[in-house]
Symmetry: C2
Subunit: 393 residues, 2 copies
Amino acid sequence: MKYKFSQKMTELKPSAIREIFKNLGQPGAIAFSAGNPAPESFPVEFISEASADIFAHDACSALQYSVTEGYVPLREAVTARLRDKFSTGGEGDTTLIVSGGQQGIELTAKVMCDEGDTVIAENPSFIGALNSFRSLGLKLAGVPLEDDGMNLNALEDALKTNPRAKLIYTIPTFHNPVGVTTSLEKRRGIYALAKKYGAVIIEDNPYGELRLSGEDVPTIKSMDTDGIVVYCGSFSKILSAGMRVGFLSAPSDIATKIVVAKQVEDVHTNIFFQMIAHRFMTQFDMDAHIEKIRALYRYKCGLMLDTMARELPGDVRWIKPQGGLFLWCTLPDRLDAGKFVADAAAEKVFVVPGSAFQCDQSLPTKAFRLNYSTPTDDDIVRGIKILGSIARM
Amino acid sequence: MKYKFSQKMTELKPSAIREIFKNLGQPGAIAFSAGNPAPESFPVEFISEASADIFAHDACSALQYSVTEGYVPLREAVTARLRDKFSTGGEGDTTLIVSGGQQGIELTAKVMCDEGDTVIAENPSFIGALNSFRSLGLKLAGVPLEDDGMNLNALEDALKTNPRAKLIYTIPTFHNPVGVTTSLEKRRGIYALAKKYGAVIIEDNPYGELRLSGEDVPTIKSMDTDGIVVYCGSFSKILSAGMRVGFLSAPSDIATKIVVAKQVEDVHTNIFFQMIAHRFMTQFDMDAHIEKIRALYRYKCGLMLDTMARELPGDVRWIKPQGGLFLWCTLPDRLDAGKFVADAAAEKVFVVPGSAFQCDQSLPTKAFRLNYSTPTDDDIVRGIKILGSIARM
């Protein structure tokens, strides 16, 4: 049968990253393409013990239906940490638990936007968020991303020329895929422009705890005296990605709508891992654990950067991030990015072409993304050497 | 700030059932309003042991990102059971794991329907599904539900008069809220009409394993030689509701689109509980466990029916179901359903008014829904007595 799919889904292609994943099964493959946390970053012993304790003493609560808003003790712990550590979330905000940061983004767009509305995003940006906007029939307006964040003039132009621009989507801290961190000045600028033009900001911050160097910059949400910022966070990079637990802090009226939208998507986030996350925050030295992950990624990022400096030709450029999981590289004009990515894949080294992250995916780019948290140290060295030899051809 | 929400969410109200839940915390409350499985139905010891084993031997797989389609061994086990036990799913179908049956319904509607399209549903029907359609900006056309399923003439009328009718949503087995099971003849009729008018059927079957009496009727999906049925199932009622693991069997082209839509909602369903569900299906006597749940609900349903026969006035009517979790009662003309539900709540007995399940919620009904799986035996007897005294007033 020939199906007639919804217009929004007809236009949506599977993520290029997923297509690459399909080739990762082969022996000897080196995955610089994932965004996976390092397996060493999971506190397995703690989770195992907490799990045994939950099933021994609170099994029925862990296995029964629960409320859509999330496990109350976890919501309270997240609220406290956001407030105490990031000055984020205030009296007018509500913390909700969602099934990963991805769901927080998608739900916010669902409650704020009708089909045909526009979301303004950094260009390039996180493909999962861009695709969630596309899946809702929304248009994307990309704003060039500079070393210190969005170009504010281009942001204002986009707000002016798109009267149906309802949302500004930004990853101000350790941007995926580019790795840059938006400056305090530009954060203030983004906030002021959103307020001026009546847009709501989605501040996506899944990597915020993974600072490798430099000083924290206040979140945009911490400036939110007008109730226009939805802050999305996640446990995926600090506890477990597979458990699918994230959170958001939203102005309470928006949160109320998000709860209704979440209820009809998955009723609630699996309650057992909400209980695990709560214990992680309150009965475990979460900060020491995060410090260990930071040290691990600081080392892996440094190893990759050092190897790149040694092995890649001088006309390949990249940005040194202060945190997160990714390195963004730009090829010189003499190299075709599509061919480079394909040649690397033929040598079993998988990187993500920059086109995947474009608001307009038909536009060519010279860039590609590398991940340093997933591969082993040996694979980092071996894979970068292979990329170097391809780039010199 | 005054927010401008999306049109579809502006119109969507929180579930009436949830509003009732808010009052359940008070001491002595009797919840006939839930759809929760009995706590005794969770195989806690098995889950606890399986959990310890997974964290001891396969922790990294259980905690890392996984693929959107679902854990392959679980997909295979579900495919095999659907085929062997229900003759459901064939060569042209793909089994996917979703975050509860609810997500399967919502995703199917998202990929098949544009805003303004129509979903035809039994009237009354499951509020979670109806609200998921509403959340996507879809219109609902209700078809009267009779003792043996939808009125087929009304179904054909709805298909004729709604040229944008893309989906028929049906719960043919142990309907929620009404409890009736659609006859084989009517299943064939629904299938034939869907085919004739080019609509896709969502066959929602979360209760199918919970038969208390009578013989299984073939699923509509088992007749699907044309690739027009998406079958949604769930582990919520036989293993754990809180773990949020369901599945669907869809024609492969539709499944491919559902995967893309799921990826942008929650990336994948939490992988740990997919592993638990797989072990439940392959390393545990699942059928014996389901038989225990059936015996429990057979007893509880019988206790509620017996008490109703004794305690409710003769002009209150109800339907005896062959399975599932619910009893559907209709009040006589002399009683106002809204007042009855409110009077019961004042006595701390919570039932769901029939209006909650209507495609057009503004229409009055004389009905209310009772659940027998959640309350204790004592509460069943005490609560029905209270309802009887109110109904006699």
